[in-house]
């Protein structure tokens, strides 16, 4: 398994899900994630798994809810407009404390938007995609290797904390090809005693449910869930620091824009500009601690993203607005060039 293979991001992710033990995929065609479904359609029947093209995004996420109820690893994949439709089901997954994996290979929005890459579902993903108070774990891969690696991580943490995980990729991550080392399967020791598998007349019935008609019960459930979220925020935030040791300007970016920003930073360094980057790998939990620490050292932050400044708000919150935060953005499927990012860095000097 240690040899490098050339794969598309969507396919690496799909194969990684299989390596993670997922044998149940439910989806609906939408660009630019369709390769995930096509890959699963080919692979699943060969390994005794389920590939089911659902009648709708809504049905697909509810099939995932059913499969997840039985303690099996299950997933669906879609792109922005499809994720809007899945929000009902994601809220129910969160409310019933079910683990599952949802892939969002984002395109530009709102509405039907376009089919070119976007990161404009940042708020939707990080604030809780659906009604009610909840979070999902959100991972933002920045390369095909991470498309694979984070898929395993997403399944494992979803099961550990009994909550949905989302891979929030942008269209570029899904479509680009890179050499990748497929990850090794990991043993999982997560407790699945809550699953509905039939009582076998040996235990009380298990109930998977999100309805609590007594207000006190529902408040208690929300508090319990948020206690778990607090633990996750403490333990599970992931990020990468690049050239931050002596940085006076800190770029914050994820996904494809982090790759572009890296080029811009290399160029800026050649010109003597002290700039580095903090790249969030989890968007929820958001890596607040390294940003707060950076705020005491750098003079300026520059957010680079494919939306109108959604993550910028999280950066400002993380640093308690101690330093100015600029935004370098393109939307609608447009992608900034390294030169545009370099200009933004220079402006922040």
């Amino acid at each position: 398994m240690s040899e490098k293979v050339l794969m598309k991001g969507n396919e690496a992710l799909a194969e990684a899900a299989i390596i993670a033990g997922c044998r149940h995929y439910f989806g609906y065609p939408i660009t630019p994630q369709t390769e995930v479904a096509a890959y699963m359609a080919k692979r699943m029947p060969k390994i005794g798994g389920t590939f089911l093209q659902a009648e709708s995004e809504i049905a697909a996420i509810n099939m995932v809810y059913g499969a997840a109820s039985t303690g099996h690893r299950a997933m669906t994949s879609s792109s922005s407009p499809g994720i809007s439709l899945k929000c009902e089901g994601i809220s129910y997954l969160a409310g019933a404390d079910l683990p599952a994996l949802i892939i969002n290979v984002q395109r530009g929005g709102p509405g039907l938007g376009g089919i070119q890459p976007g990161q404009s579902d940042y708020f939707l993903a990080t604030r809780g995609p659906g009604h009610g108070d909840f979070h999902v774990l959100v991972f933002a891969p920045s390369g095909v290797q991470e498309m694979a690696d984070l898929t395993l991580k997403a399944f494992d943490l979803a099961e550990k904390y009994r909550m949905p995980s989302m891979i929030l990729a942008d269209g570029t991550m899904g479509q680009m090809m890179e050499p990748v080392v497929l990850p090794e399967p990991q043993e999982s020791h997560n407790d699945l005693s809550w699953a509905v598998t039939g009582t076998n007349m040996e235990r009380e019935h298990n109930i998977v449910n999100s309805l609590y008609l007594q207000p006190q019960d529902l408040e208690d459930m929300n508090n319990q869930r948020f206690a778990r979220y607090a633990e996750i925020e403490k333990k599970e935030a992931m990020w990468e620091e690049f050239m931050m040791e002596d940085a006076e300007i800190c770029v914050v970016s994820y996904g494809i824009t982090a790759r572009i920003a890296r080029n811009a930073i290399n160029e800026a360094r050649k010109q003597g500009i002290k700039v580095g980057m903090i790249r969030p790998i989890t968007l929820w939990p958001f890596p607040k601690a390294p940003l707060a620490a950076a705020a005491d050292k750098v003079k300026h932050f520059v957010c680079v993203e494919l939306n109108m400044g959604q993550m910028k708000e999280d950066v400002e919150l993380a640093i308690s607005c101690k330093k100015p935060v600029d935004l370098c953005y393109r939307v609608g499927g447009m992608i900034p060039s390294p030169t545009e990012v370099l200009e933004a860095i220079k402006k922040a000097m």
């Binding site: 059913g66 499969a67 109820s69 039939g198 019935h205």
Partner: protein, 245 residues
């Protein structure tokens, strides 16, 4: 002393929340009797809908899942694909199955998923206080059809068994009612058959039960049952619409 009558094991001891005179209790009992008689409680997974029977998860002793409104057939599909040797059933009302979840209903039937659906048609939304259902009769007065259901603006009652019988896949479609002893016994036979079919791997089985809602129809329980016989049965004829051998 010989026991001649007892509560089915597959029902818990929870007190049902249903209104006086509501036939949900009868149908719950019939489902539980079928589960007992087939000896499948330990491997059955039930799915409760959104609507009056939302809390069915507390009433059946088998493992239970509560689904989003209308999505029970999709949830059942996900469960059955993971647990093909288990028995999976949904218990849904008319708003759930025939309105917001119609797409899931038709598509699940079309795939011929090997599951059992118990469909309660009482021509009204009960849980929310008596609004027009897709199965409300023409002229029926409800909270949202206060002048009577008018086909010009509110369409016609939807006939699920007839609709699904246009599909190739379903194994078994039957409409029954529970207005009297004879019909209750017939409903029991149909419900048990719908479970038996699944055990035998025959595929999608749905039993539509014409039911009453005395509270929201504004009738006594006996008048409500009479209304089922007089008004509903002519629109929704009882009988078997599909039985693949």
């Amino acid at each position: 002393m010989a026991v001649v009558f007892e509560k089915p094991h597959a029902l818990t001891d929870a007190v049902l929340h249903y209104c006086p005179g509501c036939p949900h209790g009868i149908v719950h009992r019939l489902v539980a009797e079928a589960i007992d008689e087939l000896g499948i409680e330990g491997k059955t997974i039930g799915i409760a809908p959104v609507g009056c029977s939302v809390m069915a998860y507390d009433y059946f002793r088998c493992d239970m899942v509560e689904a989003a409104h209308g999505r029970a057939p999709a949830v059942a599909t996900g469960i059955k694909r993971c647990m093909p040797d288990n028995v999976v059933f949904t218990y849904q009302g008319d708003g759930d199955l025939a309105s917001i979840g119609l797409c899931e209903t038709v598509s699940t039937a079309c795939r011929g998923e090997n599951i059992t659906i118990i469909f309660i048609n009482n021509a009204i939304y009960g849980m929310t206080g008596g609004q027009m259902a897709p199965t409300s009769l023409l002229g029926q007065v409800t909270q949202t059809s206060p002048y009577g259901r008018d086909p010009k603006t509110q369409g016609y009652p939807i006939k699920i068994c007839e609709l699904l019988s246009t599909l190739d896949a379903p194994a078994y479609l039957e409409r029954v009612t529970v207005t009297d002893v004879k019909n209750v016994k017939n409903a029991k036979r149909a419900i048990k058959k719908a479970f038996q079919n699944q055990i035998e791997g025959k595929g999608f089985s749905l039993v539509e039960v014409l039911s009453a809602c005395p509270t929201n129809w504004g009738m006594t329980p006996t008048d409500a049952l009479q209304w089922v016989t007089d008004k509903m049965v002519p629109v929704y004829p009882l009988g078997c619409f599909r039985d693949k051998e």
